[in-house]
């Protein structure tokens, strides 16, 4: 099972620069999209002036706590809507229609809160270490203690990332920023629900492939560290936001939300209290207990010193008083859960207050804010959870009053709609195009600014999705990985030093006899245990990629071992790497003197070392054109030789050969 490592350091300068460059380019595209949308609407509005619909009247009294309209509340002037805005100003996405009710405060909190969270998470994804660091240092470790099937699934999903680190990492930035903007811009209506569903969909992708199902299949599951996965709360919020508006019109939804959260809190309390899971002991036989170890590891994350001190101090406190910390946590979770389950607004308010304090303390002292260290992807679970239960409380206690639009006069009914004057219709294809432009312009003029902005947000998501999908469809890794490991290849134009050696079949072969073909030449130690088998594998893969041009390409290697240079060794290597059956493969050897001359001519070194070490040698490939000139020198040091880096080197070799083939 290939790992998710690419073998490159997380702070590789080439990758970081390429990532930055891709983000800047895409940012310009995003800016252009919004600019075009804004200009188009501006032009459309000026071309098609719209008659605005009259403001809706407000009923007497207001339903602040979900009580039916008509029950006046003391101390408040009649007619003031809960949202503080005059009723009727809110517009849906479908046009200048009158709104029957303002956005419920609970819903608004969820929408704006999670919109901001998605944008924040997207910005975090733009950290320079993400392309290489996220799969290797975040995703793979988070799946490491899960069952094998979870690891396989996470690996499979993470392979496009390791193969195309720039495109996929940039995609995640724009997808998350786009979803965030979408939630912020699209307040109600179909656009808003679509945005909410996008949030659910993407959240599930992140939960499965990025959080390994939130670690629910791994040992050590605890609410304190974000179980069952922060992004699951994003999904829950998305589902709630996708509900029809009328679902928010009664306290029932709030009651259900709090009940669900109550079940969750009680369940987490039971889990935390479960014996044998290591949470009751701060230390075990002198070693840090489960919770203490987790907190200590968070304190060692790169972060401001004062924060690290606070977290480390709490780790020490937990080590000394683990039982008390766990007992407090269990009681607090159970009490909050019970308060939420009660359905009583007063108890729920107490529960919300307690939960906010608990979440804040956990977020600071245990989760360590969640997003520090250079590879933090989100502020962990406490903030999203807090948004949910506060929203649930608001949904329970603050339902907006119903408002109705005035009945339009029959004669003015058509004038109520955004019906600008229609120009005379033209005929023919040009006329149809003109009609289309006209109706498009009319639509733009009548569409609310928010809807257009939401459409722009969708376009931002697509700015991320489309290039990433195109890259992921390519089964070969990005050659930038190879360049990040071995450096950029040197472009030269010098005559390739000649040689005459024996190939793996015992036949005499000279470089001159290969004129007319593009030659990919490398040097391999047949008994090497690491680099050379990888390079041989890459050459074999490049040969398969270039199969259509097999007659014009020659892949060749010269033995690079002072001791093991027999035909038997060469043939054993060929069998090992699957090179024996390739028609355009040569693995050549000769006497030690012949080989040493060739090594010298090509700048290769090969030296036997004592005490059981393999021969010391460098790794280089030469791309020789049909006239016998070296045109590129590629450092083929494969590094750790992961699946991604091997594929990337293979692409680099193939591209180099194809370039020379194309240039004649």
């Amino acid at each position: 099972m290939p790992g998710m490592q690419s073998g490159i350091g997380v702070s590789n300068a080439l990758i970081a620069e390429a990532f930055r460059s891709a983000l800047w380019q895409q940012l310009i595209i995003v800016a252009v999209i919004f600019l075009v949308l804004w200009l188009a609407r501006l032009i459309a509005v000026r071309s098609w002036p719209i008659k605005r619909a009259p403001k809706a009247s407000r009923p007497a009294g207001k339903a602040r706590t979900g009580r039916p309209a008509g029950k006046a509340q003391t101390g408040r002037p009649a007619g003031k809507a809960q949202t503080g805005r005059p009723a009727g100003k809110a517009r849906t996405g479908g046009g200048a229609q009158t709104v029957t009710q303002p956005e419920p405060p609970g819903r608004r909190l969820l929408r704006i809160g999670f919109g901001i969270l998605w944008i924040f998470d997207g910005i975090l994804q733009a950290q320079s270490a993400m392309p290489i660091g996220l799969p290797a240092q975040v995703i793979e470790p988070s799946a490491s203690s899960s069952p094998a099937w979870v690891r396989h699934l996470v690996n499979w999903g993470g392979t496009p990332w390791t193969y195309h680190p720039i495109q996929v990492a940039a995609a995640v930035v724009w997808i998350q920023i786009g979803i965030g903007l979408w939630l912020l811009f699209a307040r109600q209506g179909p656009w808003a629900r679509l945005g909410a569903l996008a949030s659910v969909g993407w959240g599930l992708v992140v939960w499965v492939f990025g959080e390994a199902f939130g670690g629910i299949f791994a040992p050590g599951l605890t609410w304190l560290f974000g179980a069952p996965g922060a992004v699951l709360f994003y999904c829950a919020a998305g589902i709630l936001l996708a509900l029809p508006e009328h679902a928010w019109g009664t306290p029932r939804l709030g009651r259900l939300m709090l009940a669900g959260l109550g079940v969750f809190f009680v369940g987490m309390a039971v889990l935390q209290a479960w014996p044998g899971r290591g949470f009751w002991q701060g230390t075990v036989h002198g070693h840090p207990g489960t919770l203490t170890s987790m907190i200590r590891s968070m304190s060692q994350t790169p972060q401001p010193h004062f924060l690290a001190r606070i977290v480390a101090a709490f780790a020490d406190f937990t080590a000394a008083h683990g039982f008390a910390v766990n007992l407090f946590t269990v009681i607090a979770l159970a009490a909050i859960g019970a308060a939420f389950l009660s359905g009583q607004p007063r108890l729920a308010r107490l529960g919300v207050g307690a939960a906010l304090v608990l979440c804040l303390a956990d977020w600071l002292l245990i989760e360590d804010l969640g997003f520090l260290g250079g590879l933090g992807t989100d502020p962990n679970s406490m903030i999203p959870m807090a948004l949910l239960f506060v929203s649930g409380y608001l949904a329970l206690t603050r339902v907006p009053a119903h408002q109705t639009a005035p009945a339009p006069e029959p004669a003015k009914a058509k004038a109520q709609s955004a019906a600008p004057q229609t120009a005379p219709r033209a005929t023919g294809p040009r006329g149809r195009v003109a009609d289309l432009l006209q109706s498009g312009s009319r639509s733009l003029a009548t569409t609310s600014g928010r809807s257009l902005a939401a459409a722009g947000a969708l376009a931002v998501v697509l700015v991320g999705v489309v290039p990433s999908a195109a890259a992921s469809a390519n089964p070969n890794a990005d050659p930038i990985i190879a360049r990040a490991i071995g450096g950029t290849s040197n472009v030269v134009n010098t005559p390739a030093p000649g040689f005459s050696l024996i190939d793996q079949r015992g036949s005499q072969v000279s470089l001159a006899s290969l004129r007319g073909k593009v030659v990919l030449l490398t040097f391999l130690d047949p008994v090497c245990t690491s680099d050379c088998p990888l390079i041989g594998h890459e050459f074999a893969a490049a040969a398969r990629q270039l199969a259509a041009n097999a007659g014009q390409i020659q892949l060749a290697a010269v033995v690079l071992s002072p001791t093991y240079r027999s035909l038997a060794a060469v043939q054993a290597f060929d069998r090992q790497e699957g090179l024996s059956g390739l028609p355009n493969w040569l693995y050549m050897t000769g006497s030690l003197a012949q080989l040493q001359n060739i090594w010298r001519a090509y700048g290769m070194t090969a030296q036997d070392l004592p005490a059981g070490a393999m021969a010391l040698h460098n790794d280089v490939a030469y791309v020789i054109d049909r006239a016998g000139y070296v045109r590129r020198v590629i450092n083929t040091d494969p590094g750790p030789g992961t699946a991604a880096s091997q594929s990337s080197f293979e692409v680099e070799l193939t591209d180099a050969a194809r370039q020379l083939l194309g240039s004649g």
């Binding site: 889990l271 088998p533 060794a569």
Partner: protein, 385 residues
């Protein structure tokens, strides 16, 4: 929400948490029954008329490919060991050696990492110079995976998949001789029913001889090949061992014939025996050495048929060529990887730690080990990474 509903929900939450705890907890059931015993280490010594050879592991972590197997040689009459590891190949996977007679030796480098075949090296001058060779397969992980017929003619190799290959002098072309499956199917092996070949050797008449692990109790899996057929050629066990399953741990040629180290198991109990023959037919058995549960960590034979064993619990035993009784040695120094028989009935303990080989000597009649030599080995850490 009614009280009943609250209670129901709370119970549901508790059940959910229990389920989650069950999913998340990692439990492993202890397996009943015994795991197969691990093979003895590749660390061993070989004594010839021209001196002694020793294979030990030095360096660091095998997981990080920082362990390097080394070959040492001590000329006859000398008390000093020298490093003679053949150059040009990484030795992280282990080394197996076989005497070719006189100062000659052949060594096989077990493959490691991405190397899948076995480079060979042959010396004719006690390790001063080496000639390369190739066995295009993966050598088995046992100290007797390589054997040479008396006189250094034919070679036999036990491969990792249970196949046995042979080669003519020069070791350029290897051909299959047999396999564990073919051997198990042979009529001669019915009494033993072998499931694993554990050693390869040659008889004094240069017939290939195989050692195996028998699944049927009471039989010793030593097979010799002659006239195109395999025949069971091992000793007959005494009655008190008739109920035990026997595994051949070592099989070798000595100056006086063949010798084998046998492990007879019953449950967790192991009895070690040395079997010797001068004609391939009549065997003598030593007294059994009752080990209880521990396994043999390393073992070796001397040219005269003496044997030594190092046990997992740190104990060491020897048995001389003519004796039937085991002798327990004073506990060897820490990190002892192999023993060797020195001059004047002395015993040497080769302790390998990091880059240092320390030779400890136990002279005849002495109860304490004396440091005789410290050899610093220039291990190239990180060279195989």
């Amino acid at each position: 929400m009614t009280r009943r509903a609250c209670a129901a929900v709370a119970i549901a939450a508790a059940l959910l948490a229990v389920t989650a705890a069950g999913c998340a907890s990692v439990t492993s059931q202890a397996r009943s029954g015994l795991a197969p015993p691990p093979p003895p280490s590749l660390a061993t010594t070989l004594e010839t008329a021209d001196g002694a050879w020793a294979v030990t592991e030095l360096g660091g972590s095998a997981a990080r490919h920082n362990n390097f197997w080394q070959l040492f040689q001590r000329p006859a009459g000398s008390t000093t060991w020298r490093l003679v590891t053949p150059p040009g190949v990484a030795s992280n996977g282990g080394m197996v050696m076989a005497g070719l007679g006189g100062p000659s030796l052949i060594v096989g480098f077990r493959p490691s990492q991405l190397l899948k075949f076995t480079p060979l090296a042959t010396t004719r001058d006690s390790g001063s110079t080496w000639s390369p060779g190739v066995l295009p397969a993966d050598l088995a992980n046992v100290p007797d995976a390589l054997a040479a017929a008396p006189g250094g003619g034919r070679l036999a190799a036990l491969l990792a998949g249970g196949r046995i290959d042979q080669a003519r002098p020069g070791a350029t072309t290897w051909t299959p001789l047999t396999s564990v499956h073919a051997l198990a199917a042979a009529p001669a092996s019915r009494r033993c029913s072998p499931d694993m070949v554990t050693a390869v050797s040659f008889s004094p008449s240069s017939d290939p001889v195989l050692g195996a692990a028998c699944t049927r109790p009471g039989a010793v899996g030593i097979f010799s090949y002659a006239a195109g057929a395999w025949r069971m050629a091992g000793p007959v066990l005494p009655a008190f061992l008739a109920s035990r399953q026997v595994q051949v741990l070592r099989l070798t040629n000595t100056m006086s014939g063949e010798a084998a180290l046998l492990a007879a198991r019953s449950g967790r109990s192991v009895e070690l025996l040395v079997a010797r023959t001068s004609d391939g037919t009549h065997w003598t058995l030593s007294r059994p050495l009752n080990l209880g549960a521990p396994a043999v960590r390393a073992s070796g034979f001397a040219a005269a048929g003496s044997a030594w064993v190092l046990i997992d619990n740190g104990q060491a035993y020897t048995i001389s060529g003519q004796s039937a009784a085991w002798r327990r040695l004073p506990r060897p120094p820490a990190a002892t990887a192999a023993l060797a028989f020195g001059p004047a009935a002395s015993v040497e303990a080769l302790a390998a730690r990091g880059s240092t080989l320390t030779d400890w000597e136990l002279t005849r009649g002495s109860r304490a080990w004396r440091q005789a030599q410290v050899l610093l080995v220039p291990v190239k850490y990180g060279s195989s990474g």
